[in-house]
Amino acid sequence: MRINRIIPILALFIVAATVNVDAQCKAFAKKVCLPELGPYVHDGNYHAAVLVEGEEAELYKTFYSDMEYRVAICGEDKLPNVEFKVLDANKNVLYSNKDANFAKTWDFKLQSSQQLKLIVKVSSFNAPGDTPASGCVSIMFGFKMKK
């Protein structure tokens, strides 16, 4: 009888806790990453995930000519530096924030529309034996309004 009560309660706890972790990512994206867009208008899309030290995420998006963009990539404080690279369709690296002291934002515009790939990677502390850190990483795009 007791097990019949414990398991549903634990299951509810699990679901609630999981949703809570994701909700924390949304709160993090809103509070920490959104302000990084500054005067750029956030496009409204939400890209965030919990990443573990050493883990990568990829994002594919088309960017349009004559638009001015800012990408903001933010990781929680408990994570090591978050690296991001922007690649073209031929895998040429167009930008790496490693060359800009792991800057959180990059402003760019395009002469012709392109599909680009962003690779986001949480650096590693490289300390064997330590449990890898994990935390939210958020990717946000903004564009400048045209009158």
């Binding site: 097990i3 699990i14 909700a23 949304k26 956030h42 919990v50 638009m67």
Partner: protein, 306 residues
């Protein structure tokens, strides 16, 4: 004794599942299969670190409704109220698929109306989007207080954009965080198709060559594989499978358009600290292909709003 062991095992299993979910949860993107099994990370295990490095979370980002509307406006297109989905249609949408697609459609219409400062339409489209979000159970995505705030700031375009962006983010983050990627994808597809529909309808065939809006429509070819990848991550869902068939029809026409781009040369403008990605592009879309594209888009959009 056996019963005690059974209870402990059940609790242990749930605890492990809990730990796994905490570590492996994802938001807004699809994950490679190997990552889904990642649960507990033992110490001193290089192989596990290598697995983590190879694990991938993939985001397929379609233009948001706000970006689609911005692209239409920046191409110099005129506003046409008749192209928007009538707000009177909201009562027709009772399935999750139709509500998701029309949440995207009304959000695109809302963005379009906002760009052109169509005050009453902004309120109407926001109310329609709210009904779709409420129907999908997206809690607190669009609260009445936001509609009131919109009314209070109806002449403040910056504030309107902020509210539109925030409400759309509330919707798609809720869906991503609550394990509903198929619904989230359908919302994006609805918004993208609406933007494409409005664009194709606004093209003046007498002014086809060199038309900036036609250029924006050609650019959408670059997003078609992103769209497929987005939907394919929820393949097997009957509503998504239906959409894949429709999008395939669209791809057949987009495949007739040629886009050739030169290598990209990044150059930094030191005054603004902005990188300019320089490249030249050649595109080729005949008026016949455009008309075919326009017809397919209209058919797909009609099926979404019926």
């Amino acid at each position: 004794m056996n019963k005690k062991y059974g209870i402990s095992s059940g609790i242990l299993l749930l605890a492990l599942l809990f730990a796994g979910m905490l570590i492996g949860c994802s938001s807004g993107g699809s994950k490679a299969a190997k990552d889904e099994t990642a649960t507990v990370i033992p110490k001193d295990n290089t192989a596990v670190y290598e697995d983590i490095k190879q694990a991938e979370k993939i985001f397929n980002a379609l233009p948001s409704p706000l970006e689609s509307a911005m692209l239409i406006k920046s191409a110099g297109a005129k506003f046409d109220n008749a192209l928007l989905n009538p707000v009177g249609n909201v009562s027709k949408y009772v399935t999750n698929k139709s509500m998701a697609l029309n949440l995207g459609i009304y959000t695109c219409d809302l963005s379009f109306a906002s760009m052109y400062e169509q005050t009453q339409l902004i309120i109407d489209c926001m109310s329609s989007a709210k009904k779709m979000a409420d129907g999908l159970g997206i809690l607190k995505a669009i609260e009445q207080s936001k509609i009131d705030e919109l009314e209070e700031n109806i002449n403040n375009s910056e504030k309107i954009m902020e509210i539109v962006s925030e409400t759309f983010m509330n919707s798609n983050s809720y869906l991503a965080d609550n394990g509903q990627p198929a619904i989230a994808a359908m919302v994006l597809v609805g918004g993208w198709i609406e933007g494409l529909y409005i664009s194709t309808q606004l093209v003046d065939m007498k002014d086809f060559n060199g038309n900036k809006l036609v250029g924006r429509i050609i650019d959408q070819k670059l997003s078609i594989d992103i769209l497929f990848n987005l939907l394919n991550s929820s393949k097997g869902n009957p509503a998504v499978d239906e959409l894949l068939v429709q999008i395939q029809q669209l791809k057949v026409v987009f495949d007739k358009i040629k886009i050739t781009t030169s290598a990209i040369r990044p150059e930094v403008d030191k005054n603004t600290n902005t990188t300019i990605l320089k490249s030249e592009v050649k595109t080729d879309m005949t008026p016949e292909v455009f008309k075919e594209l326009s017809t397919v888009v209209e058919e797909i959009r009609s099926s979404f709003i019926k």
